[in-house]
Amino acid sequence: MDFQQIVFPYRRSADHDARAPLRHPVVVVGAGPVGLSLAIDLALQQVPVVLLDNDDRLSTGSRAICFAKRTLEIFDRLGLGQRVVDKGVSWSTGRVYLRDAPIFSFDLQPETTHERPAFINIQQYYVEGFLAKRAMELPLIELRWKHAVVGVTQEADAVTLQVQTPDGTFALQAEHVIACDGARSSVRQLIGQEAKGRTFKDRFLIADVKMAADFPAERWFWFDPPFHPGQSVLLHKQPDGVWRIDFQLGWDADPEAEKQPERILPRVRALLAHSAMKDAPFELEWASVYSFSCERMERFRHGRVLFAGDAAHRVSPFGARGANSGVQDAENLAWKLAAVMQRRAPDALLDSYCAERELAADENIGHSTRATDFITPKSDVSRLFRDATLQLARDHPFARSLVNSGRLSTASTLHGSPLSTPDRDAFGGALGPGAPALDAPLRRDGRDGWLLRELGTGAFTALLFAGADDESDAHALQQAASGVAPLQVLRVAHDGDGRSAGLRTVVDSSGLIAQRYDGQPGTVVLLRPDQHVCARWRRVSGDAAHAALRRALALH
């Protein structure tokens, strides 16, 4: 099936003919990777969603292309991870070249003991297509194509949206509106807000080229290659024999002229001529010329309207932090919105979305800005140090740590989150409060599996490392959660440990769960529904667990 040819049907909705605007719990604006992920996550937590998109097609061209491990893990929970991974090209190695010589390589995931790879490459339209298909399976989602938001009015208890369709304009109401409508967000403009930041004075040609090339599935980045002197080039493998090539052009390039095939083809030919595939046939699938901005809204929440993904924050593409951070926004918001809508948590829980994801946006913008400053030095002295670093990197390992062709997306640790309970007990390891859960292999009922697959949607999980009092600990945890939040207790046992009646038990067959979480007999690690650590204890008490769960729901 050619995903680029899919046209989704416009349908007239019941709202259109209502005498007074109908009120919906949640309206999500924008059916891109972020809006679709959010809608699916909400529906899986029993929250009905109206999802509006101003178009009726999937995105054009490869666009986001690199989907990170954390995003794949979220897609697993949403029920489409395997489909995305099966279609995508998995990779974890990056190579950096100066002129025509490799200066170093990096492996983003040297451990093989995780279910998902560091990254897959896949055209954004496939990801959107798989997400849309998943959304259409869920009766709680109403996906409405050709519905453009043209007006936003906030009242005390609802937001009224004016929506333009091929049948004309109508109004609908929502208790909460989540704007996932991209870098040029119309919702943002309609409420009079803007994203502020830096635009980089450089232009990049991005081309999807179909060719029978035999480059490996690695990220290749050239500084000053002989086939494109003075600039940088990035090469990525995609499914369907399509290669994504990013050519740095400089600020003076004419974006219209550079988009023309007669300009693009010689650039691709020059790249191929420098490889073993001189004169290999190829065809151009899609091309675009970009300049980059790093910017964000000052606040991601304005009353009952919240912003996620590119609508809230924007980064340069080096590091693949756009779509990946947007999907993390969606996951952070979904369980909180569900808890608020279902009256299990106060409205203040939504403020924690802003606190956590605004910091994550700053971290992403920081990385992306540093990479862009390295790739596009903005002063003579900046270029002097950049070139000095690259030349030293050939001979001296230390300089390789300074070479920045993009620091690739990893899940953000939610430092200083108001929802985290600070450690009182002594712990080693990196998985402190705020850290995203790490995957590890396990056995359950005699079958091999993965830890993250054992964590449900919409519920907290307490990892209880098997000790002397598992049953009473588990009972205390369940009592602590009773009336506060859904909680799954997952007992993590060693091979030799016996079963424990009534306790869901997994076997830490490789010892890696204990190693990664610094688990000792009796240790409890409390994970939020979005799989971030929010508290941990060497010995748990019901009171401490109760307080930690309330804190994680902003129930102070």
Binding site: L384, F385, D387, A388, T389, F398, A399
Partner: protein, 74 residues
């Protein structure tokens, strides 16, 4: 301050001589390049972030303030 600014050289005069010597016969552009590479090599050797920040601040302050003479006296 994490940066050592008290005398710390094993052989101060010899180092100074070697520094100037390293620039011998270089163009101004090559000297800039050498200085940049020297900064990077030494920064890695120091490693300690606080000391590096102190050094950057001290050098910048010296450029902006201490090194400037009043205009009249130029």
């Amino acid at each position: 301050m994490a940066l050592i600014t008290a005398p710390h050289f094993e052989a101060a005069d010899a180092f100074y001589e070697a520094l100037i010597d390293a620039h011998r016969d270089l163009s101004a552009a090559q000297s800039h390049e050498l200085n940049a590479k020297l900064v990077l090599l030494l920064a890695n050797h120091v490693g300690e972030h606080a000391a590096l920040n102190d050094a950057l601040a001290a050098a910048r302050a010296s450029v902006l303030h201490a090194g400037v003479k009043p205009k009249e006296s130029l």
